[in-house]
């Protein structure tokens, strides 16, 4: 069992007829994911990358038993797309869309939660479990099946880190990109228990960044409950306060959210902290339990 997805995951792509939706539907299929349906209002009946498109999520679920969705719908309509997925019974949605207003996200998160549904993202690369499935946009080529879990708030930085782990001759169990927004559906403290319980993960790489207290919360959780080795990196040590550094969530506000605060919290609970991203693969190799398959 990988984390959140496996070979049986049946993926619906919301917004499949757009450029991004089409490209990544193809990539997910190439990675081995079961992409069973697409949904775009008014485009029902078409096929995209060999995948049937439906007018509504309800119809897509009814006809294909899709049980996870990947959302590429533009920000002004993303809330609606997600609520439609929840009401149609989808319980896992990866939201790739960037620039969703956080007030919308509050509604999405709390409504979804009341129905037992989980969001990964928004503004995130999604989930990939090499050899099994992928819901999202993480490049296929960086992966190799293995026993390292990766959980991150970044996109491209994560790809480079995952690629570095591969180049070191190691592989990944599941890589989870949580997204760079101030309000995310799944945060480190939500994700870590999944890795703790996953028998295929022996070590977790945690990639944080400035803004908020997700890393501090993670450190508290790690100190109390997490038994596997953690390699951690936090981007933004040199960022000035009050500026949004590319991600809506990457901002030091009123003295809160500095890299130093996060790093010292993580160090205090025994995480192996990398100063530079290129040190991560070495740390992984050093602390990965020796019993791990390569």
């Amino acid at each position: 069992m990988s984390v959140l997805i496996d070979r049986d995951t049946r993926v619906l792509v919301q917004g499949i007829t757009g450029h991004q939706g089409t490209v990544h539907a193809r990539n997910m299929k190439a990675f081995g994911a079961q992409v069973v349906a697409g949904a775009t209002p008014g485009k029902g009946g078409q096929e995209v990358e060999g995948v049937p498109v439906f007018d509504s999520v309800e119809a897509a679920v009814r006809k294909t038993d899709a049980n996870a969705s990947c959302i590429f719908v533009p920000a002004p309509f993303a809330k609606d797309a997600y609520l439609e997925a929840v009401d149609a019974g989808i319980r896992l949605s990866v939201i790739v869309t960037e620039h969703i207003p956080f007030h919308d996200m509050l509604t999405m998160y709390h409504y979804g939660r009341s129905k037992g549904a989980r969001i990964i993202g928004p503004n995130c690369p999604g989930i990939a479990a090499p050899g099994k499935s992928k819901v999202g946009i993480i490049p296929n080529v960086v992966f190799r099946p293995g026993r390292v879990g990766v959980v991150s708030r970044s996109g491209t930085l994560t790809y480079e880190i995952v690629n570095g782990i591969k180049e070191k001759g190691l592989g990944q169990s599941t890589c989870l990109g949580l997204g760079g927004d101030p309000v995310v559906g799944t945060s480190f403290v939500d994700a870590l228990p999944l890795f703790e319980q996953d028998p295929e993960t022996d070590l977790v790489v945690l990639v944080g960044e400035i803004g908020g207290t997700a890393e501090e919360d993670a450190a508290e959780y790690i100190g109390r409950h997490f038994t596997k080795p953690v390699v951690a990196y936090v981007a933004g040590r040199s960022a000035p306060p009050g500026k949004r550094m590319g991600h809506a969530g990457a901002i030091i506000a009123r003295g809160k959210g500095t890299a130093d605060s996060k790093l010292s919290a993580l160090r205090a609970v025994g995480a192996h902290v990398a100063k530079f991203p290129y040190e991560i693969p070495d740390l992984v190799a050093q602390f990965l339990p020796k019993s791990s398959a390569p």
Partner: protein, 377 residues
Amino acid sequence: MVKLAEWRGKEIFRKYGVPLPRGQVVRSPAEVAGALQSAGIPLPCVIKAQVLAGGRGKGGAVRFASTVAEAEEATRAILALEFKGEKVREVLIEEKLPIARELYVSLTLDRSRRLPLAMASGQGGVEIETVDESAITRVLIDPFPGLVGYERRRLVQAFGVTGPVAKSVDDLLGRLWRIFVEEDAELVEINPLAVVGERVVALDAKVIIEDDAAFRHPEFGDVRDDRTPLEEIAREKEIAFVQLDGNIGVIANGAGLTMATLDVLAEFGGKPGVFLDLGGTDDPKKVTEAFLLMAQAKPAAVFLNIFGGVTRCDTVATGLVEAMRQVPDAERFPLVARIRGNNEAEGVAILRSAGITSLSDLKESVQAVVAAAGGRA
């Protein structure tokens, strides 16, 4: 962030019925006498610079006047100020109220709990960061059903007010909640909230509208905020672009990678001058546009750090070469590139054939760009 100046925040407050002092904005001393009359502002009055930076009171950006002539003179003086680097364009003239107490109240977002957070303190008029935690009441608010009565009561109790003042605060809190939600605010803050007789009045107004919700609020399209002119242009082009204190421009793809690159640069003695996140773009035109913007910031050197995952290295290289061709001589800068991943070989070949240094080790590349910037400084 769409940070609104006090007077624009107060325009919103007025729309939602939040009690305010009588006041009016003026843009020249000549408008003062008319403003006092038309808005019915009695003397003495308060004259406040409309700037985004805090600490106006201590910084001479708030004055008092007892006569029309004094008000005109104060307006003239304030309009001549450059306050913490910001030119004063507007001045708000308001009646001076007899203040019994100064309180603090705000609505913001608790990111960890994913819930709106109300904060109230009986110690208003100072920066909330300086107030002791024990003097601040925090209430998390469920978006459904919103800020309800018993939560408002807890906030009212934080002020230690009763009777008609308590009723006035309770009413105010309902209005602030509506503003927070309906205006897509990330911050609504009143500091100080003044007790005046049997009611409370918002003496200041700090409202920040969330950037991502700006499409729902075209009425704030002209707000300049505290962005630099280049940041303003970048925002229109939807490029993540932040000007910093140093002299080296950093272009990378992805916020995390760009931040990490800055960190490495700083560690090896470089001084980042521009943060430019290309995002997930694959479009050479967009890359060209970003480079031209970078050139305008006149960096001593530029470091390009690309990991091609979704992005293809060759299209980035193509855009870069085209940009370098278009950059005017005066804006030329030394460039060090590191591009890895998708179509890496093709990308590197394109760069090299255009005479651009391309290295693959991050540490080496950073050292090279620091040297290049130093050589020019």
